[in-house]
Amino acid sequence: MRIVKLGVWVLVLYLLQTVFGRLISIYGAVPSLIAAFSVMFSFLAPDDKEAAYITVIAAVLAGSCAGHSFPFEVLLIGAGSVAARGLAGYFKHIPRLLRLMVIVMVFTALLITGGYYIANRSINVNTLLYVLLPQLIYTMACALVMYPFMMRTLFKKTEKRLLVI
């Protein structure tokens, strides 16, 4: 059942980012949903194996729609997910959502800036401000929306009750 849920999550995000990208775009900015999901899942997942699988799948899916930036996207999503997983055990005095958003922000900033540079071989302040910054903000907003849904559907704690006869 959990595999099905994960498959639905990944497929829906992939379709949203690719097929429905034009519909959900705001002033041309399309959020990097798969990459954000991969990082968030790696951060939140209780099981290393599951997180590793999702990282590989998400990296390949995100890379496959990145054109010539494929190696960069795959590597960065892999590295970002590993870093998110590693940082999950640190700075526990900071609220989890805040830590997660900082990681998503840094990772997404690197991803979209690097991806843009590789695709266009140039970058300037205007591009950063008017193209990449909106995409970054939009991705973070989507991550904030995704977080409660992920918690409810993928990481819901089951209550253990003692049956007293």
Binding site: Y53, T55, V56, A59, V60, F70, V74, L75, A79, R85
Partner: protein, 272 residues
Amino acid sequence: MKLFDKKWRVALVVVAVIAASGFVIEHFAGINPISAAVNSVLSPIKNGFSYIAQSISNGVDFVWEMRAYKEDNEKLAAANADLKRRNRDIEAYREENARLQELLELKNSLDSLDTVAARVISYSGTNNCEFIELGKGSLSGIAEGDTVITPDGVVGKVTEAGPAYSIVKTILAPSAAVGIRVTRTGGTGLAEGDDDLAKEQQCKVSFLDRTTTMIVGDQIETSGSGGIYPPGLAVGSIVSISADSSGGLNHAVVEPAVDIDRLGEVLVIKGN
């Protein structure tokens, strides 16, 4: 530290191998086989969802552009109304032009007579088109007794000529009389107005020569007798015939050639 757990090391190696192989193969072969494989597998799903996306996009665009559509619609409706009005005007001008053209041709055909064109400005409101008013009068040379005609036939004669208006008694008026001739046979008679027939926009022919034969549909024209109307102008056609007790012809009902209740412009023959 979890960062270096075995599973994560494997995942990182897998990711690095995928990235490197993708880069190398794309560099040499020009195509990334992993991207191609993923896209090939997922393209049917994407294709199916693209229809949904397109439908949603069209719906969103439609709603988004509703206001613009509404404004366009209002502008087009106004433009349409304006064009319809212009079209009506053009149609009216065309009809008027045709009438005036016919009137001009009639005027030219009557070049031996002195004529003046005038517009019908009103009808008498109390009877059945028995009197009409023209927009020209004595200042245009119109005088009492002048004949009024249209290209279709006789209308009547002027009974009063003011400076800038004229009153015309039509052939439907009970006291009107026109000397007529049956075009087919040459028989003569008198066309007169009748109150009852005037309601039907008709008049009657009486005082016919007993030798005259007449059938429904016969055309009648002015005979020129009496000197009021020039000969040969169409008066109308016979629509019914009644006989007296001896079987002789009593009178016939005539449908005027001119549609008297729909007159626009007429020609006045001056001083005949």
